[in-house]
């Protein structure tokens, strides 16, 4: 510490010791790294419960089914939409609709990101439950 207590009254400001400060900061960093419980952020997708539920469109005409085809074609209950039209159409469909459920069916060739994007748009429109439609088991 550079404080001189002499009569000549040198500078009263002490030099900050960098090394102990870095030390303490690094230890705090380690403590937080170790104590942190990892939080995973995810899109929740429900799987169909049994074989019959695999084809929800056969069951309830009120269900909304979104299909994603390769080439950027999106269909909501067979109505074709472009990528730009999808978010607003979903918002429109779900406003005032009590059952915030959507079923998602996508072709195997579609990029995973596109599927997540479409689901994300549905979430933005207020959908709470997302069901995946699996192809019939081979």
């Amino acid at each position: 510490m550079g404080v001189s207590m002499g009569k000549t009254g040198r500078s009263e400001v002490s030099d900050i010791n960098i090394t102990p400060m870095i030390d303490v900061l690094l230890v705090l960093l380690v403590i937080f790294m170790l104590a942190q419980q990892v939080l995973m952020k995810a899109v929740d997708i429900q799987l169909p419960k049994d074989a019959e539920a695999n084809q929800p469109q056969n069951q309830d005409p009120d269900n909304i089914i979104m299909e994603i085809e390769p080439g950027g074609v999106f269909r909501v209950n067979t109505r074709p939409l472009t990528k730009a039209q999808l978010p607003s159409f979903l918002t429109q469909t779900y406003t005032g609709r009590p059952k915030k459920v959507i079923f998602v069916k996508a072709d195997g060739r579609v990029k995973y990101q596109d599927v997540i994007w479409a689901i994300d748009m549905a979430r933005g429109a207020g959908v709470k439950v997302i069901g995946a439609v699996l192809p019939p088991a081979a």
């Binding site: 510490m1 550079g2 001189s4 030099d15 010791n17 090394t19 102990p20 870095i22 030390d23 690094l26 230890v27 960093l29 380690v30 790294m33 170790l34 419980q37 990892v38 939080l39 995973m40 952020k41 995810a42 899109v43 929740d44 997708i45 429900q46 799987l47 169909p48 419960k49 994603i68 996508a106 072709d107 195997g108 060739r109 579609v110 990029k111 995973y112 990101q113 596109d114 599927v115 997540i116 994007w117 689901i119 994300d120 979430r123 933005g124 995946a132 699996l134 192809p135 088991a137």
Partner: protein, 168 residues
């Protein structure tokens, strides 16, 4: 640090290095690397898809099952690479059936450890064809999974709905 008085007779320009704080900082850096290295060494490279409306899930390693599909199509269950399930091996129907069997066994093993939790965390690269994810979902269904949490990243500038914490 010892402040050297500005004496005219003082010719000692170089200060003595304090070894103790240096060793201290080194040890802490060492601990940090020891903590971080296993995560890097796993070798799993995937770019997760982006989504703005995500739910947070607490993740405790022993109580959750994670399936990872990296950008080459290799499968990882609970951070360990599954042998026999590389992209090329899954190309043939026989290879795929074989791989599915292995994956199913691993999934069942993992769920046996936490039978009350029926969530599968899926960390798949965003550029993968959806078919891979459909396959994973089919296998998950066979293992008794009810819900897939498709782990995604939040684009910068948005935050997850803080009120939306998943129930499980």
């Amino acid at each position: 640090m010892a402040m050297v008085s500005h004496d005219v007779t003082d010719t000692n320009v170089m200060g003595d290095i304090n070894v103790t704080p240096m060793v201290d900082v080194m040890l802490v850096l060492l601990i940090i690397f020891m903590v971080v290295t296993p995560a890097i060494a796993a070798g799993f490279t995937a770019r997760l898809p982006m989504g703005a409306h995500l739910k947070s899930h607490e993740f405790k390693e022993d109580e959750r099952t994670v399936v990872g599909i990296d950008m080459t199509g290799a499968y990882y269950v609970n951070k360990k690479l599954v042998q026999g399930c590389m992209g090329e091996q899954r190309a043939t129907p026989v290879g795929k059936a074989n791989c599915d069997q292995i994956l199913l066994a691993k999934l069942q093993e993992s769920y046996a450890r936490h039978p009350q939790d029926h969530v599968l965390f899926l960390r798949a690269d965003q550029s993968l064809p959806y078919q891979n994810i459909l396959d994973a979902m089919a296998l998950a269904k066979k293992s008794g999974v009810a819900m897939i949490a498709a782990v995604s990243e939040q684009p910068p500038g948005s935050r997850p709905d803080l009120l939306e914490k998943a129930e499980n």
